[in-house]
């Protein structure tokens, strides 16, 4: 299957004199897990912010399944089925864990009943309970989200993405701040998800990237340096150059290449 779920053409975003995303071209193939890597400040998060409508592009366009979504409002893009998690973990701190999931589910449905009590909505309740199990947060269901550990917030973010039945899921460093055990659990979850949902993941952890990605795009200075299979990327001279000065990452690239 080579149908492209997301097609990005000449996407550009400037902040004053700084061009954070520079004439970016990218095609995300449906059914393949796509990882975006690149040094700090390469414009990866800005790219996600452009796709999800938080920022307006200065030029270029984004097509989702052939539909031009450039310039749509974030909630409209969300309702089309593009969901994301944030690099700086972001939930509703005063709502409980299950209320976070609840409100996310209802937001996707687009129906916000003004009078029916939330607890009488059985379909949503079952789905919330199911998702709590999926992300392993059932014991914390009634805790205010603001009191969770960083790793649990990250899991909750993934749960919120899940419960909204996305077609395309954008994950911005989902394992950042997680313990090794949590990371392993999350990676497993992402692998399972990728079987049914199209996923784009920004990730700094090269071990994770080379474990799960079908395709990899390397971004530097707002541009698409190279896209290709993990093997192609690990053998690419330009990628090594881009990562010079970041020896740990280079090691990972090498390790993964020999694995």
């Amino acid at each position: 299957m080579t149908e492209s779920v997301l097609l990005v053409e000449g996407l550009t975003k400037r902040f004053g004199g700084l061009t954070a995303v520079n004439k970016l071209n990218l095609s995300i193939t449906s059914g393949r897990l796509h990882a975006i890597i690149g040094p700090n400040g390469a414009g990866k998060t800005t790219f996600f912010n452009l796709i999800s409508g938080l920022y307006t592009a200065d030029s270029g366009r984004v097509l989702f399944k052939g539909r031009n979504i450039t310039g749509l409002k974030p909630y409209e893009i969300s309702r089309i089925g593009i969901k994301r998690t944030m690099q700086i973990k972001s939930v509703f701190p005063q709502l409980s864990v299950s209320e976070n999931l609840w409100v996310t589910r209802n937001a996707t449905n687009g129906v916000l009943h003004p009078f029916r009590s939330a607890s009488s909505d059985h379909a949503t309740r079952e789905r919330v309970e199911f998702t709590l199990e999926q992300i392993g947060l059932t014991p914390l269901a009634n805790r205010a989200a603001g009191t969770l550990s960083y790793g649990d917030v990250a899991l909750l973010e993934i749960g919120m993405a899940l419960i909204s039945d996305p077609q395309l899921l954008l994950l911005d460093e989902p394992t950042c701040g997680m313990s090794p055990a949590e990371t392993a659990r999350t990676v497993d979850k992402i692998k399972i998800l990728a079987q049914t949902i199209d996923i784009v993941i920004i990730e700094h952890d090269m071990e994770v990237v080379f474990e799960i990605a079908d395709d990899i795009t390397v971004m530097t200075q707002g541009e698409n340096l190279v896209s290709g299979s993990p093997a192609e990327i690990s053998g690419d001279e330009r990628v090594r150059e881009a990562y010079l000065g970041r020896p740990e990452d280079e090691d990972y690239v090498e390790e993964a290449a020999h694995a």
Partner: protein, 338 residues
């Protein structure tokens, strides 16, 4: 929330409602008749403070212009009765429709903004209409206002229900205010109410999960205009007059203090705050003309010592107490507590 916490809360709520129902008999016997109408007035102003609370406590928008919608409710009733010759219910309806309509128009502009920009634009709107109301004396009576004779509420068979009967007046106000609080309670517990709180907590995230934040803020703004409008209409009935002075921002500001001191984001916070300050006013102002000094000091103390307001503080205490009693108290969100 555990069963026992819920039962304590429910029992207190029932006791509170029963006490309010008993007021027309108990209060004249224990204190004097005058306090029955003070309590009726407290209920009206509590509803007004609730309109601030719905916006600030649940959606995170601090309005300093709620007096505008209160004023429209008041003038809808007064102009309806004295100028248009309407009877009770159509005048009531006119007051409510007028305040909801102006809230809708103002909201279209106001909810594009947040934080202090929002606060400023709400003040500006209310000031514009305040000066307008003062200047078109022919219609509004300006600062002198409009006095009118109140038509009966209804007559059924031989019985005529009218505000000239103080007990009837009290119960009408009680029923109207209680109904509005009930509506608000339902909304807060509903998916819509949860979406409000989500926006208050994190509006970027709310937008990303698919909530139309602008539209929801506008809905909340209009609902809050409705609550303010009903309270203004009731106050017009209660005082048999309307005056532009009630549209001044000073009136809006008082409601903000009442709501925050009582506990923003709690259903009953505005009632507690309003009661506290009106009782202080009634008791102290007869002895000392600088009673607003006490009000100011108290407001500052509460904001510093109990940032979640008096009801918030009480909820925390109750939760802690119940945890100590070895009742496994999982604190759910503040929002689902009364």
């Amino acid at each position: 929330m555990t069963m026992s916490l819920m039962m304590i809360r429910r029992a207190m709520l029932i006791a509170f409602i029963v006490a309010l129902i008993a007021v027309p008999w108990i209060v004249p016997a224990l204190i004097n008749k005058f306090w029955v109408s003070v309590i009726a007035e407290i209920m009206i102003w509590s509803l007004f403070a609730a309109s601030v609370n719905l916006l600030f406590g649940y959606v995170g928008l601090l309005s300093f212009g709620q007096a505008l919608y209160f004023g429209f409710g008041m003038y809808g009733v007064a102009i309806g009765i004295s100028t248009l010759g309407l009877s009770f219910w159509p005048a009531f309806g006119l007051g409510i429709i007028a305040s909801v309509a102006i809230a809708f128009v103002a909201g279209i502009f106001a909810v594009r903004l947040t934080w202090h920009y929002f606060a400023i634009i709400t003040v500006v709107f209310s000031l514009i209409f305040y000066f307008f109301a003062v200047s078109v004396k022919a219609v509004t009576g300006g600062d002198d206002g409009i006095n009118f004779t109140l038509p009966p509420t209804f007559s059924f068979g031989g019985y005529t229900g009218s505000f000239s009967n103080e007990t009837f007046q009290y119960f009408f106000i009680f029923a109207a205010v209680a109904f509005c609080f009930f509506l608000m309670h339902r909304v807060i517990q509903s998916p819509l109410g949860k979406a409000f709180v989500a926006i208050r907590d994190n509006d970027t995230r709310a937008e990303l999960i698919g909530l139309n934040v602008y539209q929801l803020r506008l809905i909340a703004f209009v609902m809050s205009g409705f609550l303010a409008g009903v309270s203004g209409a009731l106050f017009a009935f209660f005082g048999r007059y309307a005056s532009a002075s009630y549209m001044f921002y000073h009136v809006s500001g008082e409601a903000v203090v009442w709501a925050i001191v009582g506990g923003a984001g709690t259903l009953l916070g505005p009632i507690v705050g309003t009661t506290l300050f009106i009782v202080i006013r009634e008791v102290v102002s007869t002895h000392w003309e600088h009673h607003s000094l006490i009000v100011g000091v108290m407001a500052i103390l509460v904001v510093i010592l109990a940032p979640t307001g008096l009801v918030g503080l009480w909820n925390e205490r109750l939760a802690r107490w119940s945890a100590r009693e070895k009742v496994p108290a999982t604190r759910t969100s503040l929002q689902s507590e009364p």
